[in-house]
Subunit: 192 residues, 2 copies
DNA sequence: TTTTGCACTTAACCTAGATTAAGAAGTTAT
DNA sequence: ATAACTTCTTAATCTAGGTTAAGTGCAAAA
């Protein structure tokens, strides 16, 4: 059973025909590490589901400073929600960090599927709700926790990622510079 | 035509009967400024839609420090998404800042409505999507903008709120202390 | 009308985290 | 293997924003 169908069936049940229809509207692609799936200024045409590998979304400040919005690994969705919904040019990049197998679902097919399989409207509603809750928590953490506390929370939540992605990108996700992150990490280790 | 129906019809069209059914599943309440509609530790049972007045959601740190998550004025929805979805105790407060007329939609009724009027599944999906996009932008702003820049953005986006809510709460929303906010504001005025 | 209590300001001092710079260590390509 | 890059570390110095504290102005009790 494909990972993406399992993912959907966590929230809504599909018949065999519905599964087939769904899969017929997706494409599977393989990408090497460092590939860019979406660039700032482009219109996002797909939702990306990760079968294997690791992706990240980030934007680049006027300056040249990157800020990581999200990581996605096995079983996660990623995309530029703003651009995907508005069909206007976004300001996110989506990049492969570790060789990846990705399921692509185009916006057009997604909307057709909403009409053909209304249950999917529910699925994506729930997916978006969960994503919103996670984002709100991260927002509040940014307002109320120190960098150390945010890092500890990150470690608990993303054990797998810590040794797989360059730490400068974890620093960026947490909202600190790589230099400060390195210093902080050393201090935390010494304390243990 | 009631404000909440107008709000829904921005995204999906309802028949006269559907409108009636929807409204029959809501309650209208009036609250005085400072009322608390939801406290930390409680399970959130309603989505709140603001007909008039102003609400805010916030949490309180171990310390005693408040952090404003959101403001809601006329035509906006507010709630504790985490608690509402999980039906577990949340950590948000929801409070009235200016005398308000509020439409309450219980979780139970909302779920019944999804079955009775599947179009509403679409409506709430779109609502949640838009909310997620706004949250992601705020998150990125927190990572990449200075307090001044965040304040300028806030002013453009919420002209109405600036003179209606205590500025210590705007400070909190922006993630700075009231003292720093006051200093920053004075500096910005002098510069003009 | 006085008092109590917030909201706001100002100012001195403090610190988490940024910046700059330079070297060490690990990767990738040749 | 070696060159060329990138990531990570360390350290000195700097600053946006926090903390503490005292004072002002104003609205709601009493």
């Amino acid at each position: 059973m494909s990972l993406i169908i399992q993912n959907i069936e966590k929230h809504v049940q599909l018949t065999a025909e519905e599964k087939e229809l769904f899969l017929s509207k997706t494409e599977i692609h393989h990408y090497k590490a460092k590939s860019i799936l979406l660039s700032s200024g482009e219109i996002c045409k797909y939702s990306y589901f990760v079968n294997s590998g690791i992706l990240r979304s980030f934007n680049i400040n006027d300056n040249i400073v990157e800020h990581v919005l999200n990581f996605a690994c096995e079983g996660w969705w990623i995309g530029d929600m703003y651009s995907l919904l508005s069909q206007k040019p976004g300001n996110l990049f989506i990049q492969v960090l570790e060789d990846a197998e990705i399921v692509l679902l185009s916006k057009k097919n997604q909307e057709e599927l909403y009409l053909e399989i209304p249950k999917l409207e529910r699925f994506f509603r729930i997916l978006t709700e969960n994503s919103l809750v996670a984002n709100q928590e991260r927002l509040m953490d940014g307002l109320s926790l120190s960098a150390e506390e945010r890092f500890e929370k990150f470690c608990k939540k993303h054990k797998d990622l810590i040794h797989k992605v360059p730490q400068k990108q974890i620093a960026s996700y947490l909202g600190v510079t790589p230099e400060f992150f390195s210093k902080m990490k050393a201090k935390m280790l010494k304390r243990t």
